[in-house]
Symmetry: C2
Subunit: 347 residues, 2 copies
DNA sequence: TTGTACGCGTTATCAC
DNA sequence: GTGATAACGCGTACAA
């Protein structure tokens, strides 16, 4: 039994060989005790278990992965863990994966293509068995390669009904439509949209299309000045609202493509001396837990993030065990949540 | 060059052996091209690079870790990724680690001891080179074992000035003192505390001690009815506030041991028809980004979470390369942030 | 039920 | 500069 040798920060541990020696059995038997205890006689098993304790034996999953070519690990790529909506889907992924003896390793891209590509490479080098990817670019070369090589992966959060990639997401077009429809039903006509930049968010792009379509269906002319694209964070929401509220013909309602933007926008409106919802109605997208705890409580389009996580993990794991004949596409329902941040316009 | 063989979801890849064959060199040379390109002649190097492309060669970090006994990976254990404060420190850890060629794998405990112990075990099996742990229990057997075995790890967020464990944190006692002092300076006398349960949060415990000490220093009798312990989430904050605001002699100020509790508490107060800060002053702890975007903006005690992350990672990496003679203890400064959720009592 | 022997992909240590 | 080869810890036929 080797123990933490000193010197250069090296640190070594007992192996099944040490355990085998101590227990007076072969390494194969130790391995069996670990992987299929019932196949070894209780007496020997106990001897081995004692030896393991004595050696402070730690199982080496790396070595196992090396020989089985299965790391029992999946990679999860999200834009940012700072946004609770991704924390929520992450939780779903973890719960499902852990229940099926998989580990999850998490990486964030900060909505940047290069980081996404780098992460995918790193995860592959780490020999993950598959990946769940919330991508900034569905048509990227990196994803294309993954697919060509038959590497198992599933896209999260995207609006895709068909195509070669397996996806779990919501209908972002419809979500954008619902949000806009909600505002129009309350008689709003000057409706702005504060969107995550289309360059890194196809979701935002699809929500914008839903917004435009709904305007059109209701005979409202689309005004390009009422569209602002920005990063997905609180401060951008605040600045966006200030900019929009400074227009001579300012909007009476604002659709934000996520809740963080919306919460930031509400603060921006307050700074301009406007009340929400009396002077400006605001609706978000996501329904993060915080949305119902702020004042006024935020109207929003709810995404079933946790379910997206579990569904994505389920599909990925099935892809890993049996490569799919054709890609899976799963679209979950969004839901309009009505609270206190939207009312009819007073002008 | 082997390629994705079909059948049972198996999926195999080219190795340096394949590359070596194609390039007509030895595996050692391929390895050199990967790890120290300058030591191999440009001509051969190019041959190898071409062969790698041709084979769609993917580097196998698992195999390297297996032989070098270094996974170049550190484990980070946080209570919950849902709370943005931990997202912030995680970011600090990642930035520092990545800059030094380490990967970070993340696990969350949900403030549960068993999950923490399990995670530590799993991370060790995955052969992480070290761990950063936000623990629920500084005196747990698991940590003691890690320490006995000389495994490199650093505790995050804890108030420890001495002792055998390396720690990076803030002075939670002092933080609790500062928060209470702020309220007392504004003439509050009936000051309640909504605390994360001491059973899983020593931080909360220390903040409570600071709170009590400050009351005492100012001649205010400590009232045990004014202490509520609860889980760390929005809903608990809401319920806690409702409970406290239902007392016959209700407090005029409330110190919450994190911002989530505080934001929840503000909502609870509103539901009881009370205004913040006029009828109830609220102060939190952490200073999550959201704190300055809600209305009224939250007074709080700022923790330098990002710095805690980078400092923790720095210390851990140094522990990994050279085992420390004695543990490191680093205490960062908290800072009172004054906004709009605290004012003088009106009764 | 248990043991033997080999292979997995890479790095490190020698030789040349 | 480059090549040959022995480790590394474990799983797994196959043999006993």
């Amino acid at each position: 039994m080797r123990r933490h040798n000193s010197g250069e920060g090296q640190y070594s541990m007992s192996t099944i060989i040490d355990v085998a020696k101590v227990a007076g059995v072969s390494t194969a038997t130790v391995s069996r005790v670990i992987n299929s205890p019932q196949t070894v006689r209780k007496q020997t098993r106990d001897r081995v278990c004692n030896a393991m304790k004595q050696c402070r034996y730690k199982y080496n999953a790396l070595a196992r992965g090396f020989v089985t070519k299965r790391s029992q690990t999946i990679g999860l790529i999200v834009p940012t863990i700072t946004n609770p909506i991704f924390a929520e889907s992450t939780r779903g992924v973890q719960d499902y994966a852990n229940k099926h003896d998989y580990h999850v390793i998490l990486g964030n891209t900060d909505y940047r293509k290069e980081k996404e590509a780098k992460l995918i490479q790193v995860f592959r080098e780490m020999q993950v068995d598959g990946m769940l990817i919330t991508t900034t670019d569905l048509k990227s070369q990196t994803l294309k390669e993954l697919q060509e090589e038959g590497f198992p992966f599933v896209i999260l959060y995207s609006t895709v009904r068909k195509g070669p990639l397996s996806c779990v997401g919501v209908d972002n077009f419809l979500g954008g439509y619902k949000a806009t429809d909600h505002l129009i039903k309350l008689k709003h006509k000057r409706i702005a949209m504060l969107a995550g930049a289309f360059s890194f968010s196809d979701k935002s792009f699809h929500r914008w299309h839903g917004y435009k379509k709904c305007l059109k269906d209701n005979g409202i002319t689309y005004n390009p000045d009422y569209l602002l694209q920005s990063p997905y964070n609180l401060e951008s929401g605040r600045q966006g609202a200030i900019e929009l509220m400074s227009m001579k013909k300012r909007p009476t309602a604002l659709f934000c493509s996520n809740d963080y933007l919306a919460i930031g926008a509400m603060e921006g409106a307050r700074e301009k001396g406007l009340r929400v919802p009396e002077d400006l109605s605001v609706i978000g997208f996501d329904d993060i837990p915080m949305a119902s705890f702020i004042s006024p409580a935020l109207n929003t389009i709810r995404q079933p993030a946790y379910d997206m996580g579990t569904d994505g993990a389920r599909i990925l794991l099935s892809h890993i065990s049996t490569p799919p004949e054709k890609p899976a596409h799963r679209l979950l329902e969004t839901q309009l949540v009505v609270r206190d941040s939207v009312t009819s316009p007073n002008c």
